[in-house]
Amino acid sequence: MSKSGNSNPLIKKLDELSSNKLLKLSIYASSLIFFFALILFPPLIGIIENLGYINILIYESYLMSRANFAILQSFVMAFIVSTLDLIAALPLAWFIARSKSRAAHFVDALVDIPFLMPTAALGYSILLFWCSERGLSSLFGAGSLISPGFFLVLLLHFAFSYPVIVRVMVGELLSYREVYEVAARTLGARSWTAVRTITLPLLKPGIIASFLLAFARSLSETGATMMVAGSWENGPVFLYRLMKMTEAEITSDIKNGMLVYVSSVLLLTSIVVFFIISFLAPKMRFPIKRIFSSVEGKMSSPIAVKVRNTSSLAIFLLVVIIPSIFVAFPMVEALISGSLSFVLSGFSPWGDYWRSMSISYGIGLLATLLNMIFGLPIAILIARRRLGKATSILRAIINVPIVVPSIALGVSLRLFWGKYTSLYDFWALLLSHATITYTYFVTSMAAAIESIPQELEDVASTLGARPFTVFRKVTFPLTKYSVFSGAILVFTRALGETGAARAVVRSRDLWTLPVLLVDWVENKNIAEMQKALGAGVYMLTSFAALLALRLVFSVRRK
């Protein structure tokens, strides 16, 4: 705490203003208005206003069946990926949380990489690793080990959803009181039995939450999926391809009808599916009535534990980490060959590249700022249940942007904002990124504020502190790490967004970097080295930006 007291006149003024009930009310009201008017309603209204276009599709049976199949594929892929991720990531989370070895610390540090990497760069990296002659196939002398299509998408989605599950489950395991497991073991249970019958059922909320997050992430991803999809398509890929179709390929009415149809079905279905999973999953019971002493005894043996740890580490390294960072190799080559200087020179096509990059970072920062300003009061409303029973409803609604595919949100926003203003592209781009990332900031902040006992704020208040002082000296210092990590989450997510960014922007001049990279990867006339460099530089700059933010933050902390 500063030893200067409240001598700063601005702080004094803010302190006085914070006691003004009308002002407090208007801050909360404006944040709610921001959420409903600019985040929640525009995509819904955009869709509802244009539902009429769907009528035109009754004669488009081929396109309709292709669209329906793509939508179905979205959910099939999300379900398979989340299930596989859960099975593969849980043992690794266990290893990180429970092992005291150096390897566990090392894995812990590596695990976030695919999450922090922009998905477009990740997609290209995975494409390089599994498909190109320079990748894994070079070891086997084959041209392409896995062709773009369903399995490559599966590997891609597996890689970027994996860290989500590990991170959530490590957190759950660290906060889990091991005493229950110990009690089970003292009662005669083998370690595997104790885990299956006691620990896993108690970790069920975390397992469901991580499954839903992985599911949402798979459902929403567009840019990287485009790169590795080949002829396979899911809902977002279908929408992306549809948007790229020219007037010669499809009339604008049918195109609009299709966009509205697929987006609305994706929006509605994903909300319903999430609701069903969130509602039904907690009711599911783990099979705990029987004990399989012999099998579980073997599974608890030190050899079985070793096999489990080794195989989960192998999957992590071979399927997640190495493919994710493989794009760094062409970077190293470029450094050696000197072609990096060409990249930095800004000559065509690198001029477009740097412009897109500055747009990506600019939009990412602005979206982060918007969400911090308007999201914080909402997080307080939720965490302190200031809206009474309506708080639960608000909490559920806040989650909507995260559970729907971002490209479907982008299409809806395009339909809504398209008719209003000539400034539409920029604002729609900014608002679409703010919409997609809003939930991340609000939920992480609400959780952080909830973790501070209300008593601390109450006591501060009885000691004479006005609301602004309570926030400045008690609430904020205790949540600043969450503010920072929430902001990083928003920024990272905004930086990597492709689907919505492509959907809302008409002019190439406003293409963000992921959109540009997808275009490059799809363009067969562009040299592989250029694509690899584009993805590699993108990856490096985003890591550098995150590192810089962390450094700034840690200096301030000192």
Binding site: K3, L456, D458, A460, L463, K473
Partner: protein
């Protein structure tokens, strides 16, 4: 001078009424203990006075000023929750200085006051420690230093000794009262520990289901409990069910189970009335059964169990009528006198018996504290 007055205050949380139409006055510099079982509304009462929650109905006055619409920072109150709510990111000194700084004192003055408070609490040497580096007792003293430094004249303590071990609790409760008196504070001390309340309180207020069951000095509440619940909650008591068999000018006769007759000094009863009688455990004397007793209020029984409690020895006696009586005697008088299975008599003086009308929902429901 800080006097607190609540008039017909009600506070609900959804469907649950935490405080029901409560009226009470706390006088200047008084040390009041609010006692009651879990869920009786004790903490809500403190939060209402502190302004952390607002009443749904009724008025709260501090120094004759209506404070219903005043924020906590405008009330001049220091509130100490059970686990003290020390700010974990601030040092001991910064915690104590929080109040003075928030109230607009300049930094030099605020830190001087805070240091003085820490010295008073013998914590100056730990001024730069963080709360988690201090022991439970130190944390409690730090919380008090913070409360005193804020200049508040009203101290609201919510289970202030609840987080401490038994030995420390005993030591600190005396110091707590001394400190409040020396600093001329009006103090409300919430506890569920009746022994703690008896020792420190000028006055005890017993709450149950958001209503005052009884208030008075510790001795009054102990010796003249107005209800079965009060008698049960404060002190140790025996309860016997029975009927009024006869009433005369000296009192009444209560017929207990299986024809046992108990003489009482309460004449204001009606014959045939169903009642519950209460006798404090220490007033139920155990006598050796060596010779036959012809006195009134002497009941035969067998010692069922003996528990050594340090200063006291506690006995459970199965009376011949099937009732069980608890008795406690000072160790110095009772050590080795009785054995389990020994035939004894229990003697109860008529003036030590208090009669209550039989509660409508039964005796056990009446004394339930959960």
């Amino acid at each position: 001078m800080p006097t607190i007055k609540l008039i017909n205050v009600t506070k609900k949380y959804g469907d649950i009424t935490a405080i029901k139409n409560l009226s009470l006055t706390i006088n200047d510099r008084e040390y009041v203990c609010v006692l009651g079982p879990t869920g009786s509304g004790k903490t809500t009462l403190l939060k209402l006075i502190a302004g952390i929650v607002r009443p749904d109905r009724g008025e709260i006055y501090i120094d004759d000023i209506l404070v219903n619409n005043l924020s906590p920072y405008e009330r001049g109150i220091a509130y100490l929750p059970q686990y003290y709510a020390l700010f974990p990111h601030l040092t001991a000194l910064e915690n104590v200085a929080f109040g003075p700084l928030s109230k607009g004192l300049n930094a030099k003055e605020a830190y001087e006051i805070s240091m003085r408070m820490l010295e008073m609490m013998r914590l100056a040497w730990r001024a730069h420690s963080f709360p988690h580096e201090l022991s439970g007792g130190m944390q409690q003293r730090l919380a008090l230093a913070r409360a005193l430094a804020s200049g508040a004249k009203i101290l609201l303590l919510d289970e202030p000794l609840g987080a401490l071990d038994a030995r420390l609790r005993v030591e600190l409760r005396y110091k707590l009262k001394k400190l409040a008196k020396e600093n001329n504070l009006t103090t409300i001390h919430v506890t569920h520990d009746q022994e703690e309340a008896m020792i420190v309180a000028d006055r005890i207020i017993l709450l149950r289901d958001g209503k005052v069951q009884q208030e008075g000095s510790p001795m009054q509440v102990y010796n003249e409990p107005k209800s079965i619940f009060t008698a049960h909650f404060i002190g140790e008591a025996n309860f016997f069910e029975g009927f009024i068999a006869d009433v005369d000018q000296y009192g009444s006769w209560v017929q207990l189970r299986n024809g046992f007759l108990l003489r009482t000094s309460d004449p204001n009863r009606s014959i045939g009335e169903r009642v519950v009688v209460m006798v404090r455990e220490e007033k139920s004397k155990i006598l050796k059964a060596a010779k036959k007793r012809e006195e009134i209020n002497v009941f035969p029984g067998t010692i069922e169990s003996i528990s050594f409690l340090g200063d006291f020895i506690s006995y459970i006696i199965l009376l011949d009528n099937g009732d069980r009586a608890n008795s406690r005697m000072p160790t110095i008088n009772a050590l080795g006198r009785f054995k389990i299975g020994e035939r004894v008599y229990i003697r109860i003086k008529p003036e030590d018996v208090i009669i209550y009308s039989y509660p409508p929902h039964g005796l056990y429901k009446e004394i339930e504290v959960i």
